[in-house]
């Protein structure tokens, strides 16, 4: 092979590598703004979440999801449970919606004003799980490795909490990637993901800083 061809080949390989790296680099996405106070040693409230969502304890699954976030390494995330909704920065609710495809959702508030998290910071968030959702129903259970309803509920709560901390959906990456913030529970079905992965940990560290 002539030197000329070798040079061209080298340049092309560098170009392809750079392009691949650029496309894969965005491991987490930010929603734009964040909680006005870091969620460290603060409170969450889930008094009204049902303990019987299709025969599964959604409140306990919520506690486990928050615990997964509080256990994330070297992050300024640690939430205690409270029975006082007033001091909570994360309120969890279980409510009915006709659209069974919508498993959970979140809205953002600053005081009593609902805000757009892409525009301004927020002091608390309100998260919901759909009691009519396919939360206890598994897409094609024979095709997936993880098909247990408690795990799926934990995934949905942890996903919504991720939004609450300031993470957006990971649209650019494969929707089947093993990250918590894909817009469907595919990472639970395929990998059993019920809490933050390295990408989400890096995301909240970028937002609130590291603990040490």
């Amino acid at each position: 092979m002539s030197n000329q061809y070798k040079s061209i080949l080298s340049i092309l390989m560098v170009g392809v590598f750079t392009l691949s790296f650029t496309l894969e680099a965005s491991a987490y996405e930010l929603i734009g703004h964040k909680l006005t106070q870091a969620p460290y040693n603060r409170y969450y409230w889930n008094d009204t979440v049902t303990t019987n969502l299709g025969g599964f304890n959604a409140k306990n699954n919520c506690d486990l999801a928050v615990s997964a976030w509080s256990s994330s390494p070297n992050t300024k995330i640690y939430l205690h449970k409270t029975t006082s909704q007033v001091e909570s920065i994360m309120d969890f609710h279980s409510v009915f919606k006709a659209d069974a495809n919508e498993l959970g959702w979140i809205v953002f508030f600053n005081g009593s004003t609902q805000i757009q998290p892409s525009v301004s910071d927020y002091s608390w968030v309100k998260m919901h799980i759909n009691t009519n959702g396919n939360i206890n129903w598994m897409q094609d259970p024979t095709s997936y490795k993880y098909v247990e309803a408690n795990g799926k509920q934990q995934h949905v709560w942890a996903h919504e909490a991720g939004h609450g901390f300031g993470l957006d959906h990971v649209w650019a990456a494969s929707w089947n990637a093993n990250v918590l913030m894909t817009p469907t529970p595919s990472s639970y079905y395929n990998y059993g993901t019920k809490g933050p992965k390295d990408d989400e940990v890096a995301g909240v560290q970028a937002i609130y800083g590291k603990l040490y």
Partner: protein
């Protein structure tokens, strides 16, 4: 000899560069029209969905009914929690692409819609208690609006009161401009720009005549 080598390489580089520019910016393609449908300030919610689709083929296969509809009547249902508002629309069926061709009028229920946030209680901060009426838009996508025409992909809830829901929650609907029957984008621009794969109907058919989508649907029906 050198010229013979460099010409095809230079040509390939130019073509590749042009392709990248076109696909990344769409600047040589007709820009789709963004339409604001909301009658109140909009606020996005962000969710988790059981199933989302990547193209028309997938959503068509999943849907029980695919139709062109015009919204004739609508009500907001706040339920116990104002942030869980749903909108129940009665719609006239103009044309059926999949499903029963005899349908004349159906009900579509969507997440989101107009709600009264002054009912929200969080007593540690009593400022701005009168935020009042806003429209909650899941992922920046507003609910369908009265008098407007849409092409919709629907799933039957099997409940007469709730009727149908949108396949993929926010994915299976695209508004048609009534004056020229071209697709338009009703999703908030910033939300659309960051998640065009989610709004593939708008990405692929906004700015185009509805016959483009009809042609695709007729092929899928065969």
């Amino acid at each position: 000899m050198k010229k013979k080598i460099w010409f095809p390489i230079a040509f390939a580089l130019i073509v590749t560069t042009l392709a990248l520019v076109i696909t990344s910016n769409n600047q040589f393609i007709d820009q789709p029209e963004f339409v604001t449908e909301a009658t109140h300030p909009t606020l996005s919610s962000h969710g988790n969905y059981e199933r989302l689709f990547k193209n028309v083929e997938e959503i068509y296969q999943f849907s029980d009914l695919v139709a062109e509809i015009t919204v004739t009547d609508q009500e907001s249902l706040e339920g116990d929690v104002p942030t869980a508002v749903q909108t129940r629309s009665t719609v006239q069926v103009n044309k059926v692409y999949k499903g029963s061709p005899d349908l004349k009028s159906i009900v579509i229920t969507e997440s989101g819609g107009v709600t009264d946030l002054s009912k929200i209680k969080k007593s540690f901060d009593t400022s701005n208690q009168n935020q009042g009426l806003v429209e909650i838009t899941p992922e920046g996508s507003p609910v369908i609006k009265p008098q407007n025409t849409y092409l919709v992909f629907l799933k039957d809830t099997k409940d007469a009161y709730w009727g149908y829901t949108i396949s993929g929650s926010i994915q299976g609907k695209i508004r048609l401009n009534e004056s020229n029957m071209k697709g338009v984008i009703t999703v908030q621009k910033d939300e659309y720009e960051k998640s065009k794969d989610l709004f593939f109907l708008q990405r692929d058919y906004a700015g185009k005549d509805k016959t483009d989508l009809e042609s695709k649907l007729s092929k899928l029906k065969q």
